[in-house]
Symmetry: C2
Subunit: 392 residues, 2 copies
């Protein structure tokens, strides 16, 4: 039933090390034969003979039947994954950018080669959302899938709302703790959750949408005025990717959102992730867990590895049935916009405006606007002095 | 890849009807050929020729390859399930009592016959906990699995804590709404969550434990004094089944518990269910959803049905590896006991007592006690004037 896995692992960073920690405590009928690393001079915690800089040697080694791809560089990761599949090896990856960007091509290569590519660790760390979308919800048309998919930005928002820190202090703290990169744009700009959303959208609805075709605005322009506004109304602000079905159209975007206490995501704090799935019959379901870190992500990768031993593959079942749904950006949202120049209200052409506030420090409107307008004028919205968020 | 399912369905109650509602909206390559019912004279929403009272005709019909067992009577359900498996049919059941009571025998029959018995709908309605324990956590030794597995008693507790109702008013309301049976013992006495716990324990740890060997105390003796105590300390009371690993021993019990705000189960209200899984590497994970009702449970049953089309079976992988763990009742708990007769404190022989309260209305102690003592003196604890709960 269970095949022995001989593994070549690319990368030995946080996730790779975390995975190794887990594997060494088990008797799993698997062996990591080689780690491919970039820098041969770095001090390693394992014997030298386990490391190599020679990717080809590993990809051409017939004894190695499984590649773990755990490097940061999305382009290099894509090359490794393609070559490994064509070389007849199964692949487990945790690289969301690589998967999201090349999902359709990767699905085709899997079909051609009959090999399996699994990537549970790429989306929401330890939360088994891909597997559940793929297997458990495979016959329900889902109303929506949303959540908190990015631990770094959520950590910052928790510090702001629970500890009264301002955005820049909270960001600095996250960077000091290693939760956010020196260039935090991927996280706080909403790119990282967008990659994950593109993957989720495929497993929820069977559609392939390129990340660059999905709107993302982040929390990087969040100001004290917006925080004060949220506090007064008993809201928290969360950065929320959403996939939603409306009359056979699939709507996708990543936006900050004012959420109320009755929202399941309201209580997801710090570096945790949460996923809310709304389905016609199963109703509202919620998954919560650690969204990042070596051990949680390592455990998701391990779960994929053991699934490989039982011949598991994503069947992309929904894509076969997805003729009836298409990606659309024609969707009306209710939003909050803090702005400086009055001109923007004309440019954005809101469908309607329900509230206007003018103060000495700042002004904002609340109104309804089409997603296409937001996409078209993204650069106008995304600048200092402006903050844009969805509001229920 | 996908085999056509021709289905014989036993029972056409809430779950059966809910499932039928879902199926009829889909194009699923399956057909419900016959419903086996007890009372032929009841008015039905479907054509007469679909119903029969003749179980044999369905179990012996070679065209029917799948049996859905959705009746209440656990003994009859067991007979149907056994006969169906031996007749070469796959079975989906939502009968927790039947599954929990006969789990080991049913696993053996599956092995003998090569057929598949799935029962996601038996545990926590729409929450895919069995599938996740079986597939996703199959290589992590879990620290614990606990949760809110019974919607009726949780509904009652929510009314008490959120709407200031007393136990009997809340129970009556639950009965009026159909959430609790006329004889509510199964729910409020903690038997229903105990059946689910026995099933969960098997899929989490690979052990077979008979429900009668697991301690359960419910909320049926909850009094105003206990509610007041909880409120003063900012606790809520929840009815919590727990499976926990301690040094290779598996501890199982169902007890009311005082929970604090930082517990993920604190916010699970009304008829919802929640499951908390603590794992060495994945860390703390939480699943939330509707725990009962025709549509949520129907959607879990449907998920099992579609899994059958792809040849899915529980592999009971953990049982193969479970030599290292055994069921044990030797475990120290910290508990709250409201009592009347002082004698009980001697009889129970607490390991230690940290708080004593004597008032005009009631008295209680808080102390440490071995689970074996609770099991031994269950009847002494479970009576009017006494309330017993775990406390963190």
């Amino acid at each position: 039933m269970s095949e022995k896995l001989t593994i070549g692992m690319f990368g030995f960073g946080v996730v790779g090390q975390g995975l190794y920690d887990i594997i060494k405590t088990k008797d799993l009928n698997l062996e990591i034969k080689k780690f491919v690393i970039k820098n041969p001079n770095k001090q390693r915690s394992l014997p030298d003979h386990l490391f190599t800089t020679d990717a080809d040697a590993v990809l051409n080694d017939p004894e190695i039947n499984t590649i773990l791809e755990l490097i940061d560089d999305a382009d290099a990761a894509f090359e490794i994954t393609k070559r490994a599949l064509y070389a007849g090896k199964n692949v487990v990856s945790a690289n969301k950018k690589m998967i999201a960007t090349h999902l359709e091509e990767l699905a085709t290569i899997q079909q051609e080669t009959g090999k399996s590519l699994l990537y549970e660790g790429a989306v929401c760390g330890s939360i088994p959302i891909i597997r559940n979308l793929e297997e458990y919800y495979d016959n329900e048309l889902l109303h929506s899938v949303s959540g908190i998919f990015n631990g770094s930005s959520n950590y910052i928002l928790s510090k702001i709302f629970n500890e009264n820190q301002d955005y820049h202090t909270a960001l600095k703290k996250a960077q000091d703790l290693g939760f956010a990169e020196t260039d935090p744009t991927l996280d706080v700009g909403g790119f990282d959750p967008k990659y994950k959303l593109a993957i989720v959208a495929n497993h929820a609805y069977g559609i392939y949408v390129k990340p660059e075709d999905i709107l993302n605005l982040g929390i990087d322009k969040l100001g004290q005025a917006d925080i004060t506004y949220a506090r007064e109304k008993n809201y928290k602000i969360k950065l929320i990717p959403l996939a939603k079905e409306v009359d056979g159209k699939i709507i996708l975007y990543v936006l900050p959102k004012f959420v109320t206490k009755d929202n399941l995501l309201y209580g997801v704090e710090n570096e945790n992730n949460g996923v809310v799935v709304k389905a016609a019959f199963a109703d509202e379901q919620f998954f919560f867990g650690k969204g990042a870190g070596g051990h949680p992500t390592g455990s998701a990768v391990l779960s994929d590895i053991t699934a490989l031993r039982y011949g598991y593959r994503y069947e992309f079942k929904k894509h076969a049935k997805s003729q009836e749904v298409t990606y659309s950006t024609d969707y009306e949202l209710t939003v909050y916009l803090r702005y400086e120049d009055e001109q923007i209200l004309d440019t954005l052409s809101f469908n309607s405006i329900s509230e206007r506030f003018y103060g000495q420090e700042y002004k904002y409107v609340i109104g309804k606007i089409n997603l296409q307008q937001i996409i078209k004028h993204r650069d106008l919205i995304h600048r200092d002095g402006y903050f844009f968020a969805e509001i229920a």
